[in-house]
Amino acid sequence: MPSAQNTDTDNDGKQHVQHIIIPFLQSQSQNTLTRLYQRPSSCLSIFRLLSPLERQLVMNLLWLESAISANTMHAWVTREGRKLYDEALVTLSRLHILLTATGKLALNPTFKAGFRQAITGGGSTGSFGIPAEQSDKHPGIDIEGLDAYALERWETILHFMVSSGTGQQPTRPSSGVLFLLQRSGLMSGSQNMAPQITSAGFQFLLQPPHDQLWDLLLQYLRLTEERAMDLVEVLGFIFMLATMELGREYSIENLGVHQKAMLEDLRDYGLIWQRRPSSKRFSPTRLSTTLTSSSPPLPTSSGTNSGPQEGFIILETNYRVYAYTDNPLQTAVLNLFVTLKYRFPNLVVGSITRDSVKKALMNGISADQIISYLVTHAHPQMRKNNPLLPVTVQDQIRLWELERNRLKSREGYLYTNFASQADYEFVLNYAKELDIVLWESPAKRCFFGSIEGHANIKGFIERRTMGAGP
């Protein structure tokens, strides 16, 4: 296994995990996907979300005019790579990018045409968006402004989530965002009640921004059907945004009806910026232009009032946490699992205690999530350490998690007082076939079966006693 995993690594050595949009796309009909592939920008975006091996396969096939025999392709693959290769083929064919019928491999003609166009340019489909004319009357917003805007929108959402239920009154995001948060199960609550963050929501907060963004967009896509929106248009628009250029203004003229309706939602999420809601042009923010790339979705430059985006936490072996940040959101997220002690203009000090971790665990956050959050946001100084986090602290957090599960319980029936060993074994074998045995002891001649299996066992014994009866 380890060798197989090594082959599937990204350039930066990170293991490639399938993007969450891929399973969603795979669940769509061939018709939907083919319509999506008519847009070169969608082809390019999806290509960028594939794993390195899948990307290589697509590139190999892209410029072939005729189908290639599956055996020929197979001959290129080393023995160790077989499994990965087969998996890649399955992924691609389920995306309907690859046609595997009749033992030959070829790209879906629509995808091939779309992707070729994306690479070579040409065509006038406007799939990558139509840049708006520069006008002196309405100068566009600069990149710094866009970054500040995106950050403010995004942090409003997260901050609202993290401080719900703490009695604070942070700025409320728009009702559209609230609705999405509730529908996605990240927050609970009805119209009249104040929304409360759920355990899924807590887990959401600890994810990197890129994953959070896709999580929300995926929920948004799931809602399209209910809102009678065309999935292809919605997906196409998201993918179009992903290929746009930061700091450039685009015209809304050639957008579809549903895409125009999306503008408002995307404004709320901070994915695009518009001067006025009725404006005829829009600018994508960094959040949207990095959707399919590996660069950070939120600005790293200083100048915004936010803390550094990566690396601000120092964790010591004595469980002390020093977080170099003045960002209220990051402080609030830390507060989920750290007991905060002091607060300075650029530094927050606290410690990881049993109580603070227990509180986090009760909120549904797992030990692994805490650890991975600490790893992702570790201060550059910490990067010199190997392992990154003090082992004592890591182990202790895991131990605290285990402590919560010292007692496991299962409801069921204890079957005992069997007349003979043969009797016992007979019933036990039957129970084992049903796979309901939770515990057994031949010495004591008894076993414990789960509650689901009781009716079966009862019937079985009754039938047997009847059969053996007079």
Partner: protein, 65 residues
């Protein structure tokens, strides 16, 4: 043959000893199976979990207080 309704608890031996101690105060154990397993009355499970947690809490020390 007999079938007894109950809840199967799976735990470590240390927890089991605490449970046995609790059982002396108010009986809830139906059958003591082995070092890791007990069968108890289903309706008592919630109370037992609470009492066990309180008992375990006594053995921990906190930086705060």
């Amino acid at each position: 043959m007999r079938a007894i309704k109950g809840v199967l608890l799976t735990c470590d031996p240390a927890v089991k000893q605490i449970l046995l101690l609790l059982n002396e105060k108010e009986s809830f154990i139906i059958e003591d199976l082995d070092d890791h397993h007990l069968v108890i009355k289903a309706e008592q499970e919630y109370r037992i979990r609470k009492e066990l947690e309180a008992e375990l809490e006594k053995n921990t020390y906190s930086l705060e207080s």
